[in-house]
């Protein structure tokens, strides 16, 4: 260490001397290269001033006293820069630590989401769920009961990042612990509302839509809690309709009123569930319209469900310059047979 420091000083003396004699650009270029070396070796600013003063005094022994004294003055200033520099270094280290913790948390959060899309005889299901940053505030879940009913939940926690992620884990465990008779849409939302109302800070809200598909009669029963409406595609008329469910956001009131809706699903029909990250894509021309999402789905509707959602995501991602502003979740349930 002491040795490499001596070598460094020697090298500085050499390039400084050469520059003082030749005063050309190549000399300055050497100085710039040297600066990389001192930064790499974490030589602090005050150290550098001291090296400069020492070197200069050796090269030109007859410097005026005012000049050499001024270096002491400059060094005093540079000590503060040195302190700031070292704090900066330690903050960078701390940030790296945070980032790796975030990565662990993000991969833990992934385990809260379904590992795979459930397979059913009559439904073709596609899902995309992409967080805007590392942690997501969007949640979706599938539940299959013993009668073969398929429950599908989509939720958006208002707020992003870590608080939303923590809240999401609560929703997941609350849903997992519900008894089977509470899996009907209205009962399920009422149960979750109680959990959220009692356990989540009052400035945090969750919107949700929950539906249950009965494969015996091909009916979709659904309820909503202030969630972004989805779409319903009717093959017979080749038309898209809003899939709206009246109901208040989870966690606001102790006694909410949820309503159950029923939709008969025919072959070729499909249900689209989404979060506002899909409909509130912001492009150079402003927010896109819900019609734009419909237009994109139409464009790919002949494809399998997974390919539709992936294509729609790709188009909207592209329209936003590949920078998501909000978490993005899009689910399509298509009746095949």
């Amino acid at each position: 260490m002491a040795n490499s420091y001596a070598i460094l000083k020697e090298r500085y003396a050499k390039i400084l001397n050469k520059y003082l004699q030749e005063k050309n650009e190549i000399g300055l270029y050497h100085a710039q290269q040297f600066s990389k070396k001192v930064l790499e070796d974490q030589i602090s600013p005050e150290e550098m001033v001291s090296i400069h003063a020492e070197t200069l005094t050796k090269l030109c022994p007859d410097l005026p006293a005012e000049l050499t004294d001024s270096f002491d003055f400059l060094m005093e200033i540079m000590v503060a820069y040195g302190m700031a520099y070292r704090e900066h270094q330690s903050l960078i280290d701390k940030q790296k630590e945070f980032e790796s913790e975030m990565n662990v948390a993000a991969s833990m959060q992934q385990t809260l989401l379904p590992a795979e899309i459930p397979s059913t005889e009559s439904l073709d299901i596609g899902v995309v769920n992409i967080p805007a940053s590392k942690m997501s505030g969007d949640y979706y879940h599938f539940v299959k009961d013993e009668h073969g009913n398929l429950g599908v939940a989509i939720a958006d926690i208002i707020g992003k990042g870590v608080p939303a992620a923590l809240c999401m884990s609560m929703i997941k465990y609350a849903m997992d612990s519900l008894p089977e008779q509470r899996l009907q849409p209205v009962a399920l939302l009422e149960s979750l509302n109680r959990v959220v109302e009692q356990n989540v800070a009052s400035d945090m809200f969750i919107t949700m839509m929950y539906g249950s598909y009965d494969p015996r009669e091909h009916c979709f029963y659904y309820s909503g809690a202030g969630h972004e409406p989805g779409f319903y595609y009717e093959a017979e008329t080749d038309e898209f309709h809003e899939l709206y469910a009246k109901g208040i956001v989870l966690g606001i009131t102790r006694e909410p009123l949820f309503k159950e809706y029923k939709k008969k699903v025919n072959v070729g029909d499909f249900i689209v569930l989404l979060t506002d990250g899909v409909t509130e894509c912001f492009t150079d021309d402003g927010f896109i319209e819900r019609e734009e999402v419909v237009r994109l789905i139409r464009q790919y509707q002949h494809l399998p469900a997974q390919q539709i959602v992936e294509n729609v995501f790709y188009e909207l991602e592209k329209a936003q310059g590949f920078q998501l502003r909000d978490d993005f979740t899009l689910i399509i349930l298509k009746r095949e047979v």
Partner: protein
Amino acid sequence: MSIQSNVEVRTEWGIVSARQAGRSLAKKIGFESVDQSRITTAISELARNIYLYAGIGEIIMEPVEQEATPSSPYRRGIRIIARDKGPGIHNIREVMEDGFTTSGGLGAGLPGVKRLMDEFEIESTVGEGTEVRVIKWLR
């Protein structure tokens, strides 16, 4: 060497006297000019904390020696003790955090002092006062 200086701090003049005494002691012990500046800056920060938050206190500066141990050779250095009977620090961990400082920008405050010196100890009791002890060893 048994030259100890003890400077009372109650005004900005006290801060300057402490700096002056610290710098000349550091020079006497044999510190190079960069380390003299660092030691002086540390004294300055400690004295300023006394002036700003306790109103009155003292800075004690003395040479220090350590016999050789299996892990380190014999060494000499300077010890600085900043002592006051001020309000004390409620949450020491907080003031030792980077970026917390209430009296200046990046790098200032106690974390800055800790980085300038080799050893750093702090004791504080709310309502009784604070004592910071730091050492810089000769290289």
